[in-house]
């Protein structure tokens, strides 16, 4: 059996860890509440923008626009594909960072010319440790997602796409399906493709007429697509942030529970060791007294 002193230091260290994990649990649960509210507010917009764009595209003829250019003339081995990976800023969130980065590695392995844009410090340091080249200028935090950040990312991606430095752009983020299930997801940002949009509520109206674009297809698409991409990125950021807080909360809750269980066991063995020491002392005293008689 370990000595009393050893057990006592062990108890102390577990108590310290418990304090940290418990505090992190509380912080992430309050952050989660905020993030959940934001997600609930954003979600209708996010879904609406997708279903509306899908509806518009399904109601118009083939669109000739620079954001819809799939560049079929570039062979697969020469295509430059950009991946935006939304990871967390910190670790200690269970498998959250690991899952999304694994998906990113998987995707990059199947592509000839990948470039990686990582949101979040944890993802960046992981990539640097594993020698994965990333865009070092792309410095965005995963905390408190806001529209301004989504706009900056969207503008950067659209510039790279239009300049021909990227032929395809994907965003990888963690989708929160429910409190217990979070799924790393891939979403294509550019180029837009009509067939990649699911047909929401097929034929929800009886107007099988094509829509007219006022004043012109180009003018509308020039404004609509950046808005859509910005909304898409914002939605992904919010969804990821919410997932991160949720993952951290679950991880910290289970580690706090483990620490409590450990403390109970340690207290038990501490008491046992103390009792044994006392018994031994009494035996020694009694033995000494008897010998003196």
């Amino acid at each position: 059996m370990a000595s009393i002193k050893e057990i006592r230091t062990h108890i102390k260290s577990v108590e310290q860890t418990l304090k940290i994990t418990n505090a992190m649990y509380l912080i992430s649960s309050s952050n989660l509440r905020k993030a959940r509210k934001q997600l609930n507010d954003v979600e209708p917009y996010f879904q609406k923008i997708e279903s509306t764009l899908s509806d518009i595209l399904h109601h118009s003829e083939e669109i000739n626009h620079r954001f819809f250019d799939k560049r079929p003339e570039i062979p697969p081995e020469k295509r430059k594909v950009g991946y935006i990976v939304v990871a967390g800023d910190k670790g200690l969130a269970g498998a959250y960072n690991h899952n999304i980065l694994k998906l990113a590695e998987e995707k990059m392995a199947g592509c000839a010319n990948p470039s990686l844009f990582v949101v979040g410090q944890a993802g960046r340091s992981y990539s640097q440790e594993h020698g994965i080249p990333i865009d070092v200028e792309f410095l965005y935090t995963a905390q408190d997602p806001n529209v301004g950040r989504a706009r900056d990312i969207a503008e950067l991606m659209m510039d790279l796409y239009l300049e021909g430095q990227l032929d395809e752009v994907y965003i990888l983020f963690t989708k929160m399906i429910n409190t217990f299930r979070m799924e790393p997801t891939v979403h294509r940002l550019l180029p837009l493709e009509r067939d990649s949009f699911p047909v929401y509520e097929k034929n929800r109206d009886c107007y099988n007429r094509d829509v007219v674009y006022i004043p012109s297809v180009k003018a509308v698409m020039d404004r609509l697509v950046p808005g859509y991409i910005k909304g898409d990125i914002f939605g992904a950021l919010v969804e990821s942030y919410c997932s991160e807080q949720n993952a951290r909360m679950t991880a910290m809750k289970s580690s706090s529970d483990n620490a409590r269980a450990m403390l109970q066991n340690l207290n038990l063995s501490y008491n046992r060791a103390r009792q044994a020491a006392i018994t031994q002392e009494i035996t020694e005293v009694v033995g000494g007294a008897q010998a003196a008689l």
């Binding site: 954003v42 917009y45 007429r209 094509d210 007219v212 674009y213 509308v220 404004r223 909304g231």
Partner: protein
């Protein structure tokens, strides 16, 4: 969904669902000027500029400031997806004025093309708010 003389109007922003319900008419700031929509409009898609929007619900015209976005128009419903939408009473006049001055100040500086567009957009937002607030 909507009666004879009304259409279903949805104004949605990333922050909230601004208005969902029946409307009798709508005037929105389109790319090339104000655009009016009545029930039975032909299917159309248009881009929305920052500016003042009005919709008529239950016989009353309701003004609002909106940001950039787009609108999908169908004979019996209209969906507006915009950057922001605010009732006039929600707009802080002082804040909007300060934002306008800030944007004008920034436009005078030398800046990159992106910064220029951001300042222009900020100015347009402030002007839209001020216009709706009056």
């Amino acid at each position: 969904m909507a009666g004879e003389n009304t259409f279903y109007l949805e104004i949605i922003t990333p922050e909230r669902q601004f208005y969902i319900g029946p409307a009798e008419a709508l005037v929105l700031p389109a790319v090339d000027g104000q655009m009016g929509v009545y029930p039975g409009h032909e299917p159309a898609v248009t881009a929305v500029e920052p500016g003042e929007l009005r919709y008529k619900a239950e016989g009353k015209w309701e003004p609002a400031a909106v940001g950039a976005g787009f609108a999908e128009i169908k004979p019996d419903y209209v969906i507006l997806l915009v950057g922001f939408a605010e009732h006039p009473e929600e707009i802080d006049r002082k804040r909007a004025e300060a934002a306008k001055e800030r944007a004008e100040e920034r436009l005078r500086q030398k800046q990159s093309i992106h910064e220029y567009y951001h300042s222009k957009a900020a100015l347009a937002r402030a002007m839209a708010r001020l216009k709706a607030r009056r």
